[in-house]
Symmetry: C2
Subunit: 209 residues, 2 copies
DNA sequence: ATGAAAATGGGTCGAGCGGCCTATGTCGAA
DNA sequence: TTCGACATAGGCCGCTCGACCCATTTTCAT
């Protein structure tokens, strides 16, 4: 049922943190992690994951090289700190189905993983949109990208205030502005509706007053 | 901003448990509690709450009597273990704006408190509907009233699966059945949409697989 | 002082959601 | 064995939500 994932990254903090975070998502299972391209190939043949998530920059065999060596492997999503055109081109050239910046919010990454597992690919506009939105921010925090007003709105959502009407009243703004804020929240967090926004708000600790 | 509430009930367990639970709701503040009608009148004049929540059956001055003695007090919601017609009639006679069974789910009670604070009253059909639905169950748990299938659905909601489509797929049922389950969840928890359902699901600990 | 980001607001439109009613089959308890 | 609760499913309708377009004003850092 759950999507089985293998992670590869040479930064252990990121590797373990991300594994932890992804395992916190019910329908995603991190079955193994690797610290370089060689280990990655081992883990993939040993565990046969549905999706692999690979850092572009890795010691020994790089992510690019490892992917190139694995013909007929599971769909791969490339992750990188440098979301520039050259890296992307190389990643796509070796068969990656997706390409995400390390500053991508977790839900967006989760969405990409599910999409990859389902055989879809995050090419073209999808990737470009994601890259455009998350090229700058240094933190992969998610909440860090939200403005003060957006956090306020999310906090209300997380306390059970869900209708546009009520939100507008309690924030002293028009219903249209509520919808605008929600739209930009959806985009930043990689989600699509209020129910998911409520879940994220609580996960990010935005509830409690 | 938050609604200030005074609770009165002679059962300390219920009194303290309910106070705890209500304080867990961001926009509700329990400012004082009382164990009988006399204490209630003291606390009300001392704290000037927005709403009072009173047990019908209390030693010394009963809830009914205490309310009768307080002309021009804040709006009162009567709570009782015996949700029968006679008690309700008496409660309404002394000016209660609402009348809830002790087996009412917490969100429904919270909704009633907000409504009372806003000057609305939970008369007529609203109260009757609530009484009809919660006359039997002994626990005021909320989650206890949910069926296994409903909890499953809520758990998925709490993990970010929000669309009817996805929910139907993952539960192997039709979209219509998903909507039916959601409708009965809304009714049981006193909520109106998926965003609130997600919040409640997490609050009830229904997430984590 | 200039420009970017944030907060505010408007309109349109289609798809999805929630309310309400009915119906069927399967349980288990009275 | 009858009644009720639960899970399943369909239809209908009105309204809300989210997507995509836009504009204005303020604030703040450069």
């Amino acid at each position: 049922m759950a999507v089985r994932v293998v992670l590869a990254d040479d930064h252990r903090l990121l590797l373990e943190g991300l594994a932890q975070a992804l395992n916190g998502i019910p329908d995603i299972d991190v079955v193994a992690t690797a610290e370089d391209g060689d280990q990655l190939q081992e883990m993939v043949s040993e565990h046969g994951p549905d999706v692999i998530l690979v850092d572009v920059e890795m010691p020994k065999t790089t992510g690019i090289a490892a992917l190139g060596a694995m013909e007929d492997g599971p769909p791969a999503i490339m992750v990188t700190m440098h979301a520039d055109a050259e890296h992307r081109a190389k990643a796509l050239a070796v068969g990656a189905v997706g390409f995400m910046s390390k500053s991508t919010p977790l839900p967006a990454l989760a969405a990409a993983i599910r999409a990859a597992a389902a055989g879809k690919s995050l090419m073209g506009d999808d990737v470009d949109a994601i890259l455009d939105d998350h090229r700058e921010p240094v933190f992969a925090d998610g909440a860090a990208a939200l403005t003060a007003r957006e956090k306020e709105l999310l906090a209300m959502l997380a306390s059970g205030v869900s209708s546009t009407d009520e939100l507008a009243d309690k924030l002293f703004i028009s219903q249209k502005t509520v919808k605008n804020h929600l739209a930009s929240i959806y985009e930043k967090l990689g989600i699509t509706d209020r129910a998911q926004a409520a879940v994220e708000a609580i996960r990010l600790g935005l509830h409690r007053k």
